[in-house]
């Protein structure tokens, strides 16, 4: 029974991780950019949701679309104005650039919001099924995370813009020849990446206390999920997220919670060496 509880905890955590990482994975896959801003976007989304709730009493569920829209705008403009200028350059350049942007965003968030941990407390109680304990806000967060991830999947598969993104990811040059405006698609993709980060942050703020100190941790999770699951696809992020959630949950139980992160990273390093395409990856797509 204890193991079942750990497994359920892992799945809940994993769904959140999938939502957290899917935007990062999309940006990496399509733009070939390691977006160091992702962690700060998540916290920004979480803070916006928190302050909407704290100052104006807006329910996070209502705030979520607005938070997502704001983050999309920020992401779109950042990509169009700044990152597009160097997007085709080596990873050292793009990574350093996004890290510089992250320093700016992080600094302003810390100064204006301070690093105090904050959380939206909904007090929804908990449920007990067959001895498995589950706070309802967590369950709610998991479903929301899965919903957002699912929506992204539908968007990528079903819409014109989604197909354009997938086309650019498969072959940018060919997509450009077919009349797709690459720089626009890049901006939209980066916007979606930021949007998913913001949504993940808003969901996180209902489940855990969030603070700017967590940006690095979230970014690290996104790395691990991407490498485990494979790049640039929604199912990959889902597999990677769930795998990491379950592994962390069990590793935390076996070695103590402070080692859960280490296990994730070590696993990632091992997997990088053995199978850099990730569990669901296709060869040639790395």
């Amino acid at each position: 029974m204890q193991y079942l509880q750990i497994l359920v905890n892992g799945i809940v955590l994993g769904a959140l991780y999938a939502c957290l990482a899917v935007g990062f994975s999309l940006v990496w896959g399509v733009l070939n950019v390691i977006n160091m801003l992702h962690g700060s976007f998540i916290i920004l989304g979480g803070y916006l949701a928190f302050f909407a709730w704290h100052s104006f009493g807006i329910h996070p569920l209502l705030a979520l679309p607005f938070v997502a829209a704001i983050l999309y705008g920020i992401g779109y403009v950042t990509q169009l104005m700044v990152i597009n200028r160097v997007v085709s350059q080596p990873v050292l350049t793009t990574l350093t650039l996004t890290f510089g942007l992250d320093l700016i965003l992080y600094n302003f968030m810390t100064v204006y919001y301070t690093a105090t941990p904050r959380r939206v407390t909904l007090n929804l109680g908990h449920i007990d099924i067959a001895g498995i304990f589950m706070p309802i806000d967590r369950l709610f967060g998991m479903l929301l995370a899965l919903l957002m991830t699912g929506l992204l999947y539908v968007l990528l598969r079903g819409s014109r813009i989604g197909r354009a993104i997938v086309a650019v990811r498969m072959d940018g040059a060919a997509a450009a020849l077919m009349g797709i405006r690459i720089d626009r698609v890049y901006a939209i993709t980066f916007g979606i990446g930021a949007l998913m980060a913001g949504a993940a942050g808003a969901i996180f703020s209902m489940v855990f206390p969030i603070t700017t100190n967590l940006t690095g941790d979230f970014l690290g999770k996104a790395f691990v999920v991407c490498v485990i699951g494979g790049l640039g696809s929604v199912p990959g992020a889902l597999v990677g997220g769930l795998a990491l959630g379950i592994i962390e949950s069990f590793a935390g139980q076996m070695f103590g919670p402070q080692h859960a992160l280490t296990v994730g990273f070590v696993l990632m390093l091992a997997l990088l060496v053995v199978k850099p395409t990730g569990l669901t990856g296709i060869k040639g797509y790395e």
Binding site: V91, T93, L95, D102, L103, N107, L272
Partner: protein, 320 residues
């Protein structure tokens, strides 16, 4: 710039830094020590990041391991200078063993792998409390003497390390190894085809990039007398060092020195004047650097030199 010219400039710069205690107070001596230290780190990174073109963000891992290896040896009774050597050898061996694995990765995966390296080493050091003191950090035996004497001693030490790294850089630059590394930077598959043992060269460059980070880390630990995991394994350092190198000119001999000095002075001025926003300004500097000065202050970018030589020579003066 002719090689002789480079050596003269470097020698003058070292003499200038060494003379700081003669005409300025301890604050400026500390600054000079930090400049020498970061020059050493940046020149080290240059082996793998500049010459070889591998986006390594593992500097903080090597520096941190150097800190702990040195501090723990010193606590175990090893004399200070010997402890620095122990740290150097340990970090070098660590990098060589790890390089054989990590260097199979390229591009983005290598970047991510090297960042993960920093995180893993930090997590291991901070959770191995019985040996390293965990999050409480570690006190390192201080050397005897007044603050001024200590500062002057460590200025000498850091400058000596800086000179050694510079000499190694020059040797590598003029040697078969440097040529091979540049080939790898331009096109690794082609380099492999023409008979360069890419794996061995890369491991060599990676080890070189780690070796002196270990020495510098150990010397830093002895200088400050206290280390902790957050400070020693800071991802910020891992990014700052490449930024310094790009600022000066990655893959050049003098670029890292110029970049480190410029960056450190800039950072210190910003720290002093904008306490709340120094990180944001640091970020802005980084962004502007990447967008407008990708070749670095020396404007010697081997990647672009050939193709852009004509276009570049039309421009006059250094872009701001």
């Amino acid at each position: 710039m002719s090689p002789t010219m480079r050596y003269v400039i470097f020698a003058l710069w070292v003499i200038a830094l060494a003379s700081v205690p003669l005409w300025a107070g301890n604050y400026f001596v500390r600054m000079a020590i930090l400049i020498a230290m970061f020059s050493g780190l940046t020149m080290s990174w240059n082996f793998i990041g500049g010459f070889t073109g591998y986006p390594s963000f593992a500097t903080a891992a090597f520096f941190g391991l150097g800190c702990y290896a040195g501090a723990l040896s010193q606590k175990a009774g090893v004399p200070m200078v010997l402890a620095w050597l122990v740290a150097t050898v340990f970090v070098g061996a660590f990098a060589a063993a790890l390089g054989a694995i990590v260097l199979r990765l390229r591009g983005h995966y290598f970047a991510i792998g090297s960042i993960a390296l920093v995180e893993v080493t930090r997590l291991v050091i901070s959770s191995w409390g019985s040996l390293t003191g965990g999050g409480d950090g570690l006190n390192v035996p201080l050397i005897q003497g007044s603050p001024t004497e200590v500062a002057v001693t460590f200025l000498g030490v850091m400058l000596a390390i800086m000179v050694v790294v510079f000499v190694v850089t020059v040797i590598v630059d003029r040697n078969r190894l440097g040529f091979g590394l540049r080939c790898i930077q331009q096109n690794e598959d082609a380099a492999d085809m023409v008979g360069i043992d890419t794996t061995r060269y890369k491991v060599f460059a990676f080890t070189l990039s780690a070796l002196f980070c270990g020495t510098i880390g150990a010397a830093y630990a002895s200088w400050t007398g206290y280390i902790d995991p957050t400070d020693s394994f800071s991802i910020l350092m891992s990014i700052k060092v490449p930024v310094m190198c790009i600022l000066g000119g990655a893959g050049t001999v003098l670029g890292p020195v110029v970049g480190a000095a410029t960056f450190m002075i800039l950072e210190e001025v910003l720290w002093a004047n904008f306490l709340d926003y120094n990180r944001a300004i640091l970020g802005a500097v980084t962004v502007l650097l990447i967008l407008f000065l990708p070749g670095g202050l020396l404007r010697i970018n081997y990647r672009e030199l050939m193709a852009r030589y004509a276009a570049r020579s039309k421009r006059s003066g250094a872009p701001a």
